[in-house]
Amino acid sequence: MNSSIDETVEQLEADFAMFDSWEEKYEYVMDLGRNLNWPDHLEQREDLLIQGCQSKVWLDHEMQENKIIFYAASEALIVKGLVAMLLNIYSNRSPEEILRLQPDFLDRIGLSQHLSPTRSNGLHSMLATIKRIALAYYTG
């Protein structure tokens, strides 16, 4: 059984609280990135591509027992790591859970600059897409 979305976020914040340096923080993110796997079809599908000026992100999803499973791919390692982090949080959750979560945890772990709308790395659009999908299921 998965931990809840809030527990996952708390755990993430706790992990980040332990890092003394930016190096540790990025090592952690990059490790997440190294372990991110995705189905082969993702990178072939133009329609799943979330274009950022700096790096590409692909996002797919399916519904299983009222939970949305997200799949995502990316090119750059740090973005991959951030994608993996977002999947840990947002994938395999109900639409309600996804919509309820405030994304201010990103500020607290000190990575929000990567997700600002003015960064064109695809992450902000990915998060927006996740929420749009959840909303679509939620409003039915």
Partner: protein, 416 residues
């Protein structure tokens, strides 16, 4: 306060210390000059320089494409400026605010893009007889390319629009109404909400030239329901080289781009290039970053004073100017006497060329503008070579108006 802005921010009640405000404008504060040429361009407050200095000293870089912090900070400031402008005109969405090089650039952008998207041979663009050249020539250039025609709402003797002519001028061929809100040569405030409603009833979108409105009154694009609106920063205490083109998203976003280049593209290939949505679609290349950020500071400064206060003050100053002129100078004819006007007073000394009046006032340290004010068709309509135009800003004073009249008296004597 104008009846034309029904939905305006709550009225700030604290009285404004206008003399203290004069001190914010180094050129005004430090000189004996009476500057009554605000419609051409206004003077700049210290906050403008401070904002530029602050960015150049701490956070200048190019925007939008950088992973480094400086670029990120610059981008945040630039995009925050867009938000400030959106709030200032009450746009529904800041993406509807596009930064341009000025009103002229804004109108040219719209004329080109709208023309490419919507104009067929025989179509009509409706303008008025009191437009600034910036709201005539771009449409002419486009109409000539597209085989379209320009129609003109006539101007009445008092300098207001002939509203009775409207119905005859609007029809299925009319693709756009582009209209000045406040006339730069007469001061006339056109009944924009009414005109927009009227055009919309015919299914005609409306572009508003707010170059002389934005400096003098609260603007609420949603309340007046305009489809496009243009203005310049430099006429409202802001930097040169910067303007705004606002457009409702569903009308603006589908238009093809005017300029091509960096930032406005999605994907460039030699075979086929695709474009971004709003606002970047219309902001090709490196924008006027320092200008936009400084303009945001100036808008905060103006909002702090309060646009209602500014409007009230400027209406009071220009009305007082107008009344004294009529009362004490029978040898002077006011050009444009519409009931609703702000800031601008245009006049002629009978039998005297406006330029002579301007030169002699200049020798008495008074800056007014003389000539056609980039409104040649309007001058022809009145059969005059131009006017003497005094245009007042909130930092002007009743004492300056008094000194002006002393100088005008002397000017008229010299010209006898």
């Amino acid at each position: 306060m104008s009846q034309l802005n029904p939905i305006a921010a709550p009225f700030t009640t604290a009285p404004v210390d206008w003399n203290a405000i004069r001190a914010d404008f180094p050129l005004i504060a430090g000189h004996d000059l009476i500057y009554f040429d605000n419609a051409a361009s206004s003077q700049k407050p210290k906050v403008l320089l401070e904002a530029m200095e602050n960015m150049v000293t701490t956070s200048y870089a190019n925007v939008h494409r950088g992973v480094h912090r400086l670029s990120q900070q610059a981008t945040d400031q630039y995009e925050a400026a867009r938000k400030t402008v959106a709030k200032f005109i009450n746009a529904a969405d800041e993406a509807e605010v596009v930064f341009t090089g000025g009103t002229t650039d804004s109108i040219n952008t719209l004329a080109f893009s709208f023309g490419e998207a919507h104009i067929q041979p025989g179509d009509e663009i409706l303008l008025s007889g009191m437009e600034h050249h910036a709201n005539i020539v771009p449409w002419q250039l486009m109409a000539e390319r597209k085989g379209a025609h320009i129609k003109v709402i006539p101007v009445l003797e008092n300098g207001s629009l002939d509203l009775e002519a409207l119905d005859a001028l609007m029809g299925p061929k009319t693709k756009l109404l582009s209209l000045v809100w406040v006339s730069n040569s007469l001061g006339t405030v056109n009944p924009i909400p009414y005109l927009i409603q009227k055009a919309h009833a015919y299914g005609i979108p409306v572009m508003v030239d707010a170059a002389q409105a934005a400096p003098h009154m609260p603007i609420d694009v949603q309340a007046i329901d305009c489809d496009f609106l243009a203005f310049s920063a430099h006429k409202m205490c802001g930097p040169t080289g910067l303007g705004v083109l606002y457009g409702k998203r569903h009308l603006f976003e589908p238009l093809p781009p005017y300029r091509g280049g960096g930032d406005m593209i999605d994907r460039v290939r030699f075979e086929k290039t695709t474009f971004q949505g709003l606002p970047f679609r219309f902001e090709a290349g490196t924008p006027h970053i320092l200008g936009a950020v400084a303009f945001a500071s100036v808008l905060s400064y103006l909002s702090n004073i309060g646009m209602q206060q500014i409007e009230a003050r400027e209406r009071q100053l220009s009305n007082s100017f107008r009344q004294q002129l009529q009362l004490n100078f029978p040898e002077v004819n006011a050009i444009g006497t519409a009931a609703d006007s702000v800031s601008v007073v245009s006049f002629l000394v009978q039998g005297r060329h406006p330029m002579d009046v301007g030169v002699l006032l200049d020798n008495q340290n008074i800056a007014v503008r003389t000539g056609h004010h980039c409104c040649q068709p309007l001058m022809e309509r009145f059969g005059i070579p131009g006017t003497v135009r005094a245009s007042l800003a909130f930092y002007n004073t009743e004492e300056e108006i008094e000194r002006f009249f002393v100088a005008l008296r002397k000017t008229i004597q010299l010209l006898r």
